[in-house]
């Protein structure tokens, strides 16, 4: 059985978790080009090595970040998303829309 450590709930069977892909920094919605935005939405880096990924503990709907080696499938660390994202992002409408 593969075990993952949830920052909220502790060690659990990997079947209780869902991976939601790599963590990437969102470009500024007001200032980014269409290409930059499309890259953020649709394209992934698919790195062979250590990556940061979004994971969710399904039983609690708790989202957190894991560092995982995609070559060995070894989970190196897990921590709350608040360790990385400290500020709330506010979305504003473009004036010309």
């Amino acid at each position: 059985m593969k075990i993952m450590n949830c920052p909220l709930n502790g060690p659990r069977n990997i079947s209780e978790f869902i991976c939601f892909g790599e963590v990437s920094i969102m470009p500024c919605p007001q200032d980014s080009s269409d290409d930059e935005w499309a890259d953020f939405i649709w394209l992934s880096n698919n790195t062979a090595g250590v990556v940061r990924e979004w994971w969710c503990h399904a039983a609690t709907s708790y989202w957190f970040i894991a560092e995982r080696n995609t070559v060995t499938d070894e989970i190196l660390a897990t921590y709350p998303a608040s360790d990385v994202f400290t500020d709330r992002v506010e979305f504003k409408h473009k004036n010309n829309l």
């Binding site: 709930n9 659990r12 609690t60």
Partner: protein, 225 residues
Amino acid sequence: MRSPHYRTLISAGARFESCMNASCVMDYGNGKNQEAAQAMQLGLADLTPLPRTGFKGPEMVQWAGSAGLKIGQHNNRAYLQEDGLLVARLSDSEILVLNGLGSRLDQCARLEEKHKHSRPAGCYTVPRSSASAWLMLTGQYSTDALAKLCGMDLRVKNFSGGAIAQTSVARTNCIVIRNNMGEIPAFHLLFDCSSTEYMWSCLVDAGMEFKGAPVGYASLLDLHY
């Protein structure tokens, strides 16, 4: 209010009584002593009609303190209040509140109403009564029966009174709270109400090996006091 799988309960011989505007299974017609003995061995009770609620949000902890709820700093711990309410701290921003066993008052509704206007925008109610089913597994074999359905070690040495596990039980997301009744092991199980019939049948099936059977609310009250 009644349990989503009341037909299953009726076929098992349930006798219902009105309790806080809800239809609650009081017993299964087996006699008081026999049902109490069953609950001490391995009993499964449906408490879904009884009141429960939840509060969530970044300002939940501050509000809970101002509302008089005494909760500790540790997540995944349940804190028994002086009036019998059981407050389960699920995370830094969420609590689940179970009505006290034996209380004749809807303490959860009172809690929601009493502090309704003082509740900040960063603390909102979670409609647990309509969203979550509530079963209780009691008795000396309850840990063994749960072990057949849940991968976590719920034995008392690793999962003591007041401990909470938010995990998978019979492949269903479930909140497991150990709330022993004196020396008798007991677990609250809360999960999505749409899975009530499935979870009930899984627990009954798992308990057959240990001669488990459904018990009514009355037998829990006998053990509780």
